[in-house]
């Protein structure tokens, strides 16, 4: 038999609901019928109903079959997933919406995640599958969404609020442009295992991997290896990615940082990076209470103070960062002032100061 290679994915057309095929490229407008329920109206007058449900992203084949069964029963077998790991059932019959919502709730999938809600949390593999994780990701998401769950099922925030978790600065979850981002961090330079380094790593590649030039050649016990200029290391783990002998994991010192005010959409203001809110919180499984409390506090403050349609970063820009720190009660520290490349661009270079007597 000829070996099949390089065929790419199946063509999406065969997975499209017939109503979608008929109206492809000819949609007129949409309405939100309830949190998690959208209705898209085509130029032809036909309507497709979307019921969106949150998932843990990590799914067993048993659960996938359960989702498939729900699709067969309520949406003709047609469904899709969103870029934030939500499941969307696509229905041509509005009378199936309520029964599907009930079935999803019974199966443990919350319905929501649309418009001014906290949608599902984009996140990384963490301790489930990653070699460079400074923390777990799924566990933090679960603990956090147990707390923030009402903001998923209701559209009760000033604007959408996008939360992401990345278990190290590689940021497979692209947390760098989220309204609220939780980031696993290391705080100490790598521990070098010289024996393993000699066996498994190319020294020139290792030296070149360091963005700050902190790694230099050295001789230990008469053998060629490297050392690290500790004050130059910013714990990025890039060296560990090219050489497993540069151990970064450190249960005592690894932890989480919280970043806020980023966005991806071009709506109103330009896309922007998330900014540091909390430089360090302890890595405290299984439910990370410090992280959950810190994020819930930021969400509450934002929900109470931002204006309609104002994303978290747009609100902080309007009222100023001093007000953000004042309202959230988060201490402002030396770590909040950038000291890496282009740091000066983040200094306040005007007398636009919101002073109060």
């Amino acid at each position: 038999m000829t070996r099949i290679t390089d065929i790419g994915p199946p063509h999406y057309e065969k997975f499209l609901h017939p109503l979608i095929q008929r109206n492809y490229g000819h949609w007129l407008y949409h309405e939100t019928l309830a949190p998690g329920v959208l209705c898209h109206v085509a130029e032809s007058g036909e309507r497709i109903f979307t019921v969106r449900a949150g998932s843990p992203r990590l799914l067993s084949v048993a659960t996938i079959r359960r989702i498939a069964d729900l699709a067969d029963k309520y949406s003709g077998g047609y469904l899709r997933f969103t870029s934030r790991h939500n499941i969307e059932f696509l229905l041509d019959d509005a009378s199936n919406i309520e029964p599907l919502k009930r079935a999803l709730n019974e199966a443990g999938f919350p319905v929501g995640g649309t418009n001014n809600s906290i949608s599902n949390v984009v996140h990384t593999q963490g301790w489930i599958h990653c070699h460079s994780a400074a923390t777990d990701a799924s566990g933090i998401v679960k603990a956090l969404m147990d707390e923030l769950h009402p903001h998923f099922t209701r559209e009760d925030l000033p604007a959408k609020l996008r939360v992401a978790v990345a278990c190290c600065v590689n940021m497979c979850g692209a947390v760098h442009c989220s309204d609220i981002a939780i980031l696993g961090i290391h705080r100490k330079p790598p521990q070098i295992r010289h024996d393993a380094l000699r066996k498994g790593c190319e020294i020139p590649t290792l030296i070149a991997s360091c963005p700050t030039g902190a790694i230099r050649p050295a001789v230990v016990d008469g053998k060629r290896t490297v050392d690290v200029i500790e004050e130059q290391c910013m714990y990025c783990s890039n060296c560990f990615t090219v050489c497993a002998a540069m151990q970064m994991n450190d249960p005592e010192n690894d932890g989480l940082s919280i970043w806020v005010g980023g966005k991806v959409s071009n709506a109103r203001s330009e896309p922007k990076f998330s900014k540091l809110a909390i430089p360090f919180l302890p890595n405290n499984p299984p439910r990370w209470p410090e992280v959950v409390a810190a994020v819930a506090n930021i969400v509450d403050v934002y929900a109470h103070h931002a204006r309609r349609f104002e994303r978290l970063g747009e609100w902080t820009e309007r009222v100023g960062w001093p007000r953000f720190f004042e309202l959230t009660g988060i201490p402002f520290t030396r770590y909040h002032i950038d000291d890496f490349r282009y740091a000066g661009l983040s200094y306040a270079r005007s007398t636009h100061l919101r002073l109060r007597p």
Binding site: T5, I7, P9, P10, H11, Y12, Y24, G25, W27, Y29, H30, P56, R57, L58, L59, S60, A62, T63, I64, R65, I67, A68, D69, A71, D72, G77, L79, R80, F81, T82, S83, G108, F109, T124, W127, I128, C130, H131, A143, M145, M171, A174, H176, C177, T205, P211, C236, N238, P251, V264, S265, N266, A267, R268, S269, N283, P285, R287, F309, R341
Partner: protein, 395 residues
């Protein structure tokens, strides 16, 4: 297969309470008839106890003829958790827009039950279907069954990664081009670059149908294709009046939020000075029944986004302000060949294209790929006077 006695997992069990669906429950479900998932649960409990990961560095594993698509994983306590001594993950090209039928999902589930842990991610951060964890000797068989079912592997390492796109014209009135066709065509066109890593580092392409950018192309893709329109916003005055009547404060919540300051609401009529419209989408998002993107549609092409590793995070910046809908795919493919040639020539190992542009300068990059500079490419012209003049411009 020997009966597998589940080990106690008191820490993970705490993550089975509460209203949000639990990944621990998912692992336990798979563990009922899969020893690898049972050991994964034990190993994860160990990580929760000692607060560190137990996965070792990759190692090269894969399927015949491919240099990517499989992420090698080994644990560092294999004697205690032998069923996940090898726990490699396959990345699988997802169908554009993440559309499935129930049968397609069942096909994937059946294959993965036969050959792996029975655990997946739907989906991974780049967009692939993630088949989470199997042994080296299962990889080729899994791959062949996937191929027979019409699926193929995605990218990993210094390769083209599986492109991703928003739902586009399949279910969105705002999509200014056919993102799903574009994404599928590109995924098919670059199978070789995806499966046999040819680059200095990874390369991601993402396509969003409008500036709302639902796949975060501007933050996450080396080449970001974002739908946009050239002509006037289409306006339905009767529907505008309906929004006003239903309580939307058009002056405060729409006009005052317009970044182009190009909208005026008299209390009875909305006027838009489209010359100053930044195509931000806010007014359209706020009144989807009343306002729509124009009809002269296409896309902006931006370049260089990435997460922080190695030199710091970057957002994509404008490379081509507007390409008409019909020319997007050919333009992108032509650009890609020139960009990759430049990157191949000048890029350092593990240097993303955005970092290379930062290092050599946008002007040198534009020279290299044969594009003329345009004012849309910068937020403002340079404000530093140290200009490197070209030899041919001075006597």
């Amino acid at each position: 297969m020997p009966e597998h006695q589940p080990q106690p997992t008191p820490l993970l069990d705490e993550l089975e309470t509460g209203p949000w669906p639990s990944f621990v429950t998912e692992i336990k479900r798979a563990a009922e008839n899969n020893p690898a998932s049972a050991d994964l649960l034990g190993l994860l409990e160990r990580s929760y106890q000692d607060r560190k990961g137990h996965w070792k560095h990759g190692g090269i594993v894969g399927v015949r003829g491919y240099g990517s698509g499989v992420i090698g994983r080994y644990n560092d306590v294999p004697d205690e958790f032998p069923n996940v001594a090898q726990f490699h993950t396959l990345r699988v090209n997802h169908p554009s827009g993440w559309f499935y039928t129930s049968d397609a999902l069942r096909t994937l589930a059946d294959i993965w039950e036969r050959h792996g842990s029975g655990l997946t991610n739907l989906h991974g951060a780049t967009g692939d279907i993630i088949l989470l964890g199997t042994r080296t000797d299962e990889l080729e068989a899994t791959f062949q069954e996937l191929a027979a079912a019409g699926f193929d592997l995605g990218g990993s390492g210094s390769a083209m990664r599986t492109p991703s796109c928003c739902v586009g014209q399949a279910r969105c009135e705002w999509a200014c081009f056919d993102t799903m066709k574009f994404c599928n065509d590109l995924t098919q066109a670059y199978q070789d670059e995806m499966h046999r890593p040819p680059f200095p580092y990874k390369f991601k392409v993402k396509a969003s149908g409008c500036p709302n950018d639902c796949v975060a192309a501007i933050a996450r893709a080396d080449l970001s294709i974002i739908g946009i329109w050239k002509d006037d916003i289409r306006q339905d005055d009767a529907a505008v009046a309906e929004y006003a009547a239903s309580g939307l404060d058009i002056a405060r919540d729409v006009c005052a939020r317009c970044p182009g300051q190009c909208m005026e609401w008299t209390g009875a009529h909305l006027t838009i000075d489209n010359r100053d419209c930044k195509r931000c989408m806010h007014c359209i998002n706020a009144m989807p029944k009343a306002l729509r993107p124009g009809v002269e549609r296409g896309a902006a092409i931006l370049i260089g986004a990435k997460a922080p590793i190695v030199q710091g995070a970057l957002l994509s910046s404008v490379l081509v302000p507007f390409v008409p809908e019909a020319e997007i795919e050919t333009t992108v493919r032509e650009l890609l060949s020139r960009i990759w040639e430049f990157w191949d020539e000048y890029g350092k190992n593990r240097e993303r294209i955005g970092e290379l542009i930062q290092r050599v300068g946008m002007a040198a990059f534009l020279d290299g790929i044969g594009l003329d500079p345009r004012p849309e490419m910068v937020a403002f012209p340079r404000d530093n006077p140290f200009v490197f003049f070209q030899k041919e411009d001075v006597k």
